[in-house]
Symmetry: D2
Subunit: 335 residues, 4 copies
């Protein structure tokens, strides 16, 4: 059994991770941490986990975790995450669910996240945890940067097309719609039920940090950095991201080229599907699948990419990475 | 008192219209029709109207309606609507909530709606019921074509910018999100609660009939026909449309030019607002307002336009047109 | 024009009140107060009110309000409300939307609300603002206690039956379901969207303050104080309360007696309706109606009572009381 | 591997069953049937199952199923289910998810379901598939009647209390709230999204068929038949039932007696939990758990019982029964 610690275990990604790990035959959770709830039973904060675990929250003590865990899932906020991770030596493997090790360069990180990075030498050197593109890197890594939720939808849809020069790499529009669990488990007036139920809005227009992540990782995967206009929207569902992506095909290309490129790269992958109709959130909710589909419209081709933001967009991807890192089938606990 | 008939009064637009007309001091509803519910009390189909009206559904008899109504709101489906309307002489004014008289030419109509038009000579000659652009035409008309819901959001946002040559007229993306009431009050598996709750999807990609309507009416308003890629999405709310519109400014233009153009045209209009933040459906729900806002993002400028699809996108616009047609303040029953 | 002040104008009941007052032909809002937002435009906090008002929040200054308002709607929290109200002299009329003046005796108030009452002499002496039962008292009052939302559903259903001795007054069960706007506009983890969407729960079991309010006001209306077991539940809608009430008919009584008693008392009232089918929240949402219905089930008769908690359960009732207090038709701005 | 057939596989319970069976290590689905979709791939109807199964719908042919399946899950509507099941001989085990074999006597069945029963001799003789009460019967049965969703919540809460004479068996109120998936996957105006979103209503008041099922099975479990007034309500969520149950304790009994009785019977059961706070749908959604909790209120004790109607209320219970019938741990595929 691989012993597992979950750091910062009070949020939604940790909750989802613990639900998945409860089904994992090769993993046993030994440590869950929370500064605020030290000593409190896990199920007091997460009643959904009652009877699945008999654990109490402890403080996030590096020595204790090193002694009791082989793999650490770090669910701390950005900056706090790197501060914590940089204290571990090589004996422990780590999946970092924050944004701290995702980007290609430390300048972009520090400019976007308005903070100094405690381990700048690892930025750009850390495996990006999208197994569909970086599986061999992930399986050999001690530290894996779990992808952002919006970038997962965009990179999976766009990277094959950019790699195969099927679309223009400028003037790409990624219009994403996300459920509220993406905002985390922290009360905020904007996410108070009557404020967002029966409503919807765009946010982070022109400034959301996941835009540069999409561009940089596509560059890492394909060698070409696209120009993406990314606008996320809040919609009143709990789970799921649906991204509608507007691209211009290069000369001679069409939806057939797109479908062929997608299938060539993803047919061997267990978690990318090609539904016959436009993807719907409900078909990917509570799964690790990404559903991809395309259709011509006006002078564009429209790509639609859908995931569960908490699973393929966070904790499911983390378990998929964990499976590669411990050398077992990447589908473990995810089907 | 202006005597009013509502034809096809079992659907959501009719329900909403009847709620608004119940507050209208110059209108009295004398006839509500339904083939299926002839003889049945109005409140049996619409319990929300109980105690507001003491009416029964009758058949849609042209002679009877002509005798008992000065103005007819026609809420029939397309094709059925024109078949009915073409039987009236000039003694009755009509607001048509269907798509039958909206487009610029009959060829586009017949190709999109797959039917012959019974009054082809009126297509392109009928006032388009968007008072912000066609008020004087509307006030002099006997027949007004009430706008489509999605076109209302797009035309109000785009027409001032195209008229003032502030944006490129090609490669415009209109990504719209609509609540389910837009699908009408007819049971269909796709709109069964468990099928659309906690879900979302794109539909009509590359084929929705409101795309050409946007392009043609902007041409009518500004003289220039833009190329629009329009993709609507279903989101799990009952009411509201939020359209996110991606445009390229022409040289020297910016959000300032856009805000100036909007304000120049709409500052005298009672139902267009400019919120400080990104529009939210909840702020326009149950109102006749259209909220407009813009922000730069990547190489685009992003416009956001929000309405209540049943009010400004249908029945509120119909009352606004009615007010102009009977010569009263267009805000009657709408504030 | 009656000049109106709204005190504590940042919450949902104030927002709803201001929407209603914008349609009121005899009222003009002159003052809106907020400690936190003094000097800020009203529409910055409530974008839905943009273009309906041109007001800024001011501090809640008694002298200023007395000079500029004829009627005050007080939307402060309990205790704060009475502290504020007791500073006014008789020149100003007041509708208090808090619980401070609703109960029959100060002992119950202080025990339930855990605070001393600054005007104990008015507790039990203040008109309870349920016009269906206390209209003449309300129209002669300077201060009216606007009813609680749950009590409105229960009192309207039960008082006619208890007055006419149609049901046992012990062992009554009131099982209420409320939307989230009832929880107010204050962020709280329990009301964070992902915590309550797709969920539901009972709360305040055995301890909710509206239980005693129901019992005491029914006593005031009928002379008999019933024993009520009241359990409210949170359901994931924004607006509306549906109460399912289980009663035992006394010998010889049935649904017919209940319907007869209801109609005798309410047929002259504009805001109580008797739908043919079980009431549905959507039919009362955004209205001032209370829909009542009953049906036998097992050894009980089941009463169902539905309102919009923000309208008939709060701000609509407040306007209805205001109409009585200023001597105009109680339907003004409410139909 | 146990070969499994799912009959009537187009509905929500079949979809959920197939999701669970995809994770079951000892089961392989060999047949899925649908009259309407014969020959169509399973994922065309259920896109959520794409890549989990490579099956097409076939007709429900008894010989073919007998040859290819060891266990049959029958998801047909009542009456159709028994018609089908009575054609099988003893070589096949069957879990029937309809109501056909649940009740104690055929008279009640025929009176409630308005149809003659094709196998009256089995009514009252078939194991009721609630393992917490009838596990040994289930494990020895060839045919198991899977429980109704509402009865599951009521029986689990009430049976221990009635068995131990802790509560009065008359005047019990069961006020249940269910999500829309309980209404099945058939379009119907009442369940059209805009009809039920932001709404709620009571239905089947005094006539719902699950009331007698609760009473009869509690009698079978405890020897005493209680009198239950049962009122179900539709609430706008997809999944979950929360039942609020009002009981009178017998002399000397209290919440302590109730908690003790529950724990004595259920502490050895894997799927009954006792949360510290009032149960919430979200904590049981997508699980096979039933959460039980109680609190005094007025002269009653209030019991709250919550399940996922599609899992513990249908397909999860079916898999739990299947596990018992094939002799494996009842938690297989359910944790």
């Amino acid at each position: 059994m691989v012993r597992v610690a979950v750091i910062g275990a009070t949020g939604y990604t940790a909750l989802e991770l613990l639900k998945l790990l409860a089904r994992h035959e090769s993993a046993t959770v030994t440590v869950v941490t929370s500064r605020q709830y030290e000593g409190v039973p896990l199920h007091t904060v997460h009643p959904a986990l009652e009877s699945l675990y008999d654990l109490k929250f402890s403080a996030a003590d590096v020595a204790n975790i090193s002694n009791n865990a082989d793999v650490v899932f770090c669910c701390l906020p950005h900056a706090a995450s790197a501060e914590f991770i940089c204290q571990f030596d090589d004996s422990v493997k780590i999946v970092d669910l924050s944004a701290d090790y995702r980007l290609n360069d430390v300048e972009t990180y520090e400019s976007l996240y308005k903070t100094r990075h405690p381990q700048p030498e690892l930025v750009g050197q850390t495996a990006y945890g999208l197994p569909e593109w970086f599986a061999s890197e992930i399986s050999q890594s001690r530290l894996v940067a779990n992808p952002g939720c919006f970038p997962t939808t965009a990179i999976l849809a766009l990277a094959p097309l950019i790699k195969n020069q099927i679309i223009d790499t400028t003037s790409i529009v990624v219009d994403s719609k996300t459920g509220l669990s993406g905002a985390g488990r922290t009360e905020k007036l904007a996410f108070h039920f009557p404020e967002c139920n029966e409503s919807m809005w765009a946010y982070g227009v022109g400034s959301h940090r996941h835009g540069p992540e999409m561009e940089q990782i596509i560059q890492r995967a394909t060698g070409v950095q696209p120009q993406i206009t990314f606008v996320p929207h809040i919609i009143p569902v709990t789970r799921g991201i649906l991204s509608t992506i507007y691209v211009h095909p290069t000369a001679g290309n069409s939806v057939d080229s797109i479908n062929a490129a997608w299938r060539e790269i993803y047919d061997s992958q267990p978690f990318v599907r090609f539904p016959e109709q436009s993807p719907q959130l409900k078909n990917v909710a509570h799964t690790n699948f990404c559903d991809l589909w395309c259709q011509p419209a006006g002078e564009h081709i429209v790509l639609v990419s859908a995931i569960d933001n908490l699973i393929k967009g966070a904790s499911g991807a983390a378990v998929q990475n964990f499976n590669l890192m411990i050398g077992c089938d990447q589908r473990h606990a995810l089907c």
